[in-house]
């Protein structure tokens, strides 16, 4: 286990170093100061700040999908032992999904994820 872990850790470190090296090459050979450094807006002068305030819908989308994400994670332990857990496990999960199904219907009813 430990040596496996050490392997994974080395892999993680190299996963950072290899792209790092690839990104470092241009620093040595690429030209510098050849272009205009203003934000690109198809050649127009940028108007106002780029720190836009965007729609609250994005927030709602990510919030709701995190909830579903968490729900799915709960289903993983069940899925890999479906055969051991049998009917009781199945009905436990069905109940779990049905309760969240109510929430899903609520979202549908309120049209919360509609992009209008």
């Amino acid at each position: 286990m430990t040596s496996d872990l050490a392997g994974l850790l080395f892999l993680a470190v190299f996963a950072l170093l290899i792209p790092g090296a690839a990104l470092a090459i241009p620093a040595l050979i690429a030209p510098k100061g050849t272009v205009d450094l203003t934000p690109y807006e198809s050649g127009m002068k940028p108007v106002g700040s780029a720190r836009l305030r965007f729609s609250v819908k994005f927030y709602l989308v990510s919030l709701l999908f995190i909830i579903f994400d968490v729900e799915v994670i709960y289903l993983y332990p069940w899925a890999i032992r479906l055969r051991d857990l049998g009917w009781p496990g199945f009905f436990e999960v069905v109940m779990f999904v049905v309760i969240l199904g109510v929430g899903y219907l609520f979202i549908l009813k309120k049209r919360a994820l509609d992009w209008d």
Partner: protein, 427 residues
């Protein structure tokens, strides 16, 4: 959890050297190999995309560098390395520099657990499927970082759209993969492949109607997660120029770009492992394959073929489908994909319990027959239309040497063909 590097280190032995140093050395080699493989696959796919695009739009595509323009991606890579790494004056310099890392590392680490062959896997994790889902979610962080750090309106909008899209579509894709996990009873990708067989009727794709639908759910949401057309709103050229990576240039841009293309192959590879039997060869048991290097090589080739076909379909989709609108995008995910994938999951579970073995075989046979028939009809229609477009599918054309290539003529011929068959339901 079994690491290829660890096995090689044990096999090498290397008495006298500190063991951790040997492991580190072998891991470095494996990591370099994985990196090379990822880069090569992504590079070849960028070439393939342009060829497919050319073919689909009746033009030639890159054909100057190497045979059929195959080395175009190498030329592009060299060009990108020699380009200036532009950091806009308004950008947040630190985050701007760091943003490509989560994307590259996420994709790269995911490839470490892709089962290219029975023994060709860098790390066969016992939480394989979940690991893939988790590690690729680092991409979201990179995309948001890039969008925000660029300090550009389009980059920010693209990054935010992309993040919202990836987070949303992750749910149906994970659920669809769960349908397979349920049947296999393991999260390890090698374990899942081991439960399938080489023949199409032994694949999980045709196991029952639920898995058949689950595959399409998985594929659709995986394409959406990769921000590929028809789900490429985050990059929408016509409105956001290039989305979150609009300010990037040189190698940093290449990082995002290669990440996207490596992701295309990754999703096809995962689909191959989950639904198409991975490296299993028809008529050859895993034990026979383990014993013979020749069968091993055939298995690796078969996996590459299946995953390559999947990647081709993704590229093909891009040049065939128009882009979705933002409201359609969310609607598709939460009105259709989400409930359907839940239904497929519970359906699969109930199927395991309710259907006796003999009936399961009948269902499997029927699903295979219907599935292959549908695929056959589809392929026939495609070739039917290609034939009537007015040019033939010859690769000579690709060299630009054939004298018969005339887009104008083609449009006229195909237009006449469509008018003649206007009433056909099939067209």
């Amino acid at each position: 959890m079994q690491l290829l590097a660890e096995r090689i280190a044990t096999w090498l032995g290397m008495e006298g050297l500190p063991r951790q140093a040997v492991v580190a050395g072998v891991v470095l080699v494996v990591a370099l190999v994985v990196a090379t493989v990822v880069l090569t696959i992504a590079g070849i796919l960028t070439w393939a995309e342009r060829r497919v695009a050319g073919r689909t739009q009746s033009r030639v595509g890159p054909n100057r560098v190497g045979p059929l323009g195959f080395l175009q991606w190498v030329a592009d890579g060299i060009k990108l390395i020699t380009k200036e790494d532009v950091i806009p004056a308004a950008a947040d310099r630190t985050l701007f520099r760091l943003a490509p890392y989560p994307v590259i590392v996420g994709i790269f680490a995911a490839f470490a657990s892709v089962p290219f062959g029975q023994k060709l896997i860098a790390a066969d994790l016992n939480v394989g499927v979940l690991y893939l889902m988790a590690i690729t979610s680092l991409v979201v962080v990179g995309v948001l970082m890039a969008g925000w750090a660029s300090n550009n309106k389009w980059a920010l909008l693209g990054g935010v759209r992309s993040a919202a899209q990836i987070v949303s579509y992750e749910v149906p894709s994970v659920l669809a993969a769960l349908s397979v996990v349920l049947l296999a009873g393991t999260l390890s990708l090698q374990g899942i492949i081991g439960k399938q067989g080489g023949w199409p009727w032994e694949w999980y794709l045709f196991y029952n109607p639920f898995t058949f639908v689950a595959f399409f759910l998985f594929f659709t949401s995986a394409v959406a997660e990769g921000n590929r057309t028809p789900f490429d709103l985050p990059e929408a050229e016509s409105e956001l120029v290039a989305g979150y990576n609009v300010e990037y240039s040189g190698m940093r841009f290449a990082g995002f770009f290669l990440g996207e293309f490596a992701n295309v192959y990754l999703l096809s590879a995962i689909a191959t492992a989950l639904f198409f039997g991975g490296w299993q060869i028809p008529g050859v048991t895993p034990d026979m394959q383990a014993a013979s290097p020749v069968w091993q090589a055939v298995g690796v080739g078969l996996f590459a073929l299946k995953a390559g076909t999947g990647a081709f379909v993704v590229l093909w989709l891009r040049w065939t489908m128009p882009r979705l609108r933002v409201d359609q995008l969310m609607g598709l995910c939460y009105r259709y994909l989400l409930p359907l994938s839940f239904a497929m999951l519970l359906g699969n579970a109930a199927y395991v319990w309710l259907v006796p073995q003999w009936a399961a075989w009948v269902v499997q046979g029927a699903t295979t027959t219907v599935g292959l028939a549908v695929a056959g009809v589809f392929v026939r229609r495609v070739f039917y239309h290609i034939r009537h477009v007015g040019d033939d599918v010859s690769l000579d054309l690709a060299r630009g040497e054939s004298g018969t290539f005339d887009p104008q003529l083609q449009v006229r011929v195909y237009g006449a063909f469509r008018r003649r068959h206007a009433g056909d339901s099939a067209s």
